[in-house]
């Protein structure tokens, strides 16, 4: 009884954003002299610091204890600057193919569980924070549920902009700026907009 309970309790699937060391298997070349090793360590520390210092000015404005209210900048100006970063697909189509969008929104694991075939991507990771497709149970509750999102009459352009650069609508939002950071291309974002708006998408069915 106890055993069954524990197994059930601990074995529920879920993929977390904050992942530990496992796959970072660094091959240490045994030929490296102690000195070269020290140098390598110094380089790694410097690289990490460089990455930490690559903060942009909007991130800086959001780094106060509130975390969600920009400081030291004019909010209207902040939004204006963020809007200016948004780029659109070359063909101008903001609503793409929902099936492609689904594959970008789901992790490979989730995709396989649903369809038994290869697909999915680490790029979107939407279900880390949102629920939506009711078949995906391991979904987060950080953002609002996207269930039936396409039936609400929201302008797809707003959705596009929201995913490209959420900070153009909600400064300092916890939802990161997918297009701005290049995590998703304009075409990919259009496909995800399709996934959210298309009546055939599992989000809306």
């Amino acid at each position: 009884m106890k055993r069954g309970l524990l197994v059930a309790l601990f074995a529920s699937a879920g993929i977390i954003a904050c992942q530990p060391a496992s796959q970072a298997v660094k091959q240490e070349k045994q030929t490296l002299s102690a000195q070269a090793k020290t140098q390598e360590k110094v380089d790694k520390a410097q690289l990490f610091r460089k990455a930490l210092n690559a903060q942009d000015k909007w991130q800086k404005a959001c780094s106060n204890p509130t975390q969600i209210a920009p400081e030291g900048v004019d909010v209207a100006q902040f939004i204006k600057e963020m809007k200016e970063t948004i780029k659109y697909p070359k063909d101008g189509k903001l609503v793409g193919d929902w099936k492609k969008g689904e594959s970008l929104a789901l992790l490979p694991k989730e995709y396989k569980a649903l369809y038994g075939t290869k697909g999915g991507s680490r790029k979107g990771n939407c279900y880390a924070c949102h629920c939506g497709d009711p078949r995906i149970i391991a979904c987060g509750n950080i953002g609002p549920s996207l269930r039936g999102y396409g039936n609400k009459g929201i302008d797809p352009k707003l959705t596009y902009d929201r995913i490209y650069n959420s900070w153009a609508q909600v400064p300092c939002s916890t939802m990161f700026r997918f297009g701005y950071h290049g995590l998703l291309s304009p075409e990919e974002i259009a496909h995800i907009v399709g996934y959210l708006h298309d009546p055939e998408s599992p989000i809306n069915k």
Binding site: A17, A21, A24, A51, N141
Partner: protein
């Protein structure tokens, strides 16, 4: 050995469920009722190293700090702190590494080093069980690093615009997937670190925890352009750097007064 204990405790299945929900207090209670914490074996390993591990100097930890850790009772409650012999603020990991290399004469670098340092850290931390965390900020270096840690806690950066505070102040109590986000600062969670992670069958020090969390930031080298999974991902800070120790100082200072109960038991 450890795996055998775990497997018999939990029917084996647990070992293969690499990702799972945080255990509730009731679940942990069940483990406690079973009478063994799987972490005990690792702590025992640490105790063994403490008394018997010898390097080029012929000394052991016990030669300097006494049988059964007599001289280290309460030491962990005050870490991280400034140490004059190494002229640095050290957390438990770096303190032990320095002792191993300077006084015992054992190479404690890299992955091999972690295999000795982590059990020792677990053992030394248990010597402060029941005592309140009491991090003081006396030395100027301690003050400087505390302020730096606070800055890093709130610093939003990387291709995901994350900060520690986003997940652990703003979103605390919410779930990423099925993972509940804790509030280490507000809820003084430092009191149960180092912690045994059931899903990994590993003891983790706070250094391991912070490195894991930084991986989720998607930090990148700005000179190489934008973030890229394969070509431009600065995954984790190297062990023992001052950024990690600064964050520890910030979080542990916030946990002052909390009673140390280690090793913690986490999913």
């Amino acid at each position: 050995m450890r795996k055998v204990i775990l497997a018999s405790l939990l029917g084996g299945a647990l070992l293969f469920s690499a990702r799972a929900e945080s255990p509730t207090p009731e679940q942990l209670q069940i483990l406690k009722e079973m009478g063994v914490s799987p972490a005990d074996v690792i702590i025992e390993e640490g105790r063994e190293y403490y008394h018997n591990l010898k390097g080029t100097t012929g000394k052991t930890c016990a030669s300097c700090h006494g049988q059964d850790g007599d001289g280290l009772v309460g030491a962990y409650a005050k870490m991280p702190r400034y140490y004059t012999d190494i002229k640095r603020v050290a957390d438990i990991d770096l303190r032990i590494k320095s002792c191993l290399e300077k006084y015992v004469g054992v190479d404690a670098s890299g992955k091999k080093g972690r295999k000795i340092i982590v059990p020792l850290a677990g053992y030394v931390a248990t010597l402060s069980n029941g005592m309140p965390i009491s991090v003081e900020l006396k030395h100027p270096e301690e003050k400087r690093l505390y302020e730096y840690g606070k800055e890093l806690w709130f610093k939003r950066v990387g291709a995901r615009d994350f900060s520690c505070a986003i997940c652990h102040d703003v979103l605390a109590g919410k779930r990423i997937r099925l993972q509940k986000l804790g509030a280490p600062v507000r809820d003084k969670l430092y009191a149960h670190w180092p912690a045994y992670r059931i899903s990994k069958d590993k003891l983790w020090t706070m250094e391991d925890r912070i490195r894991g969390c930084y991986k989720s930031f998607f930090l990148f080298d700005p000179d190489k352009g934008k973030f890229d999974f394969k070509k431009n991902w600065v995954k984790k800070p190297p062990f023992y750097i001052e950024e990690i120790i600064a964050l520890e100082l910030y979080m542990k200072r916030a946990a002052n007064g909390a009673k140390i109960e280690v090793p913690g038991l986490l999913r």
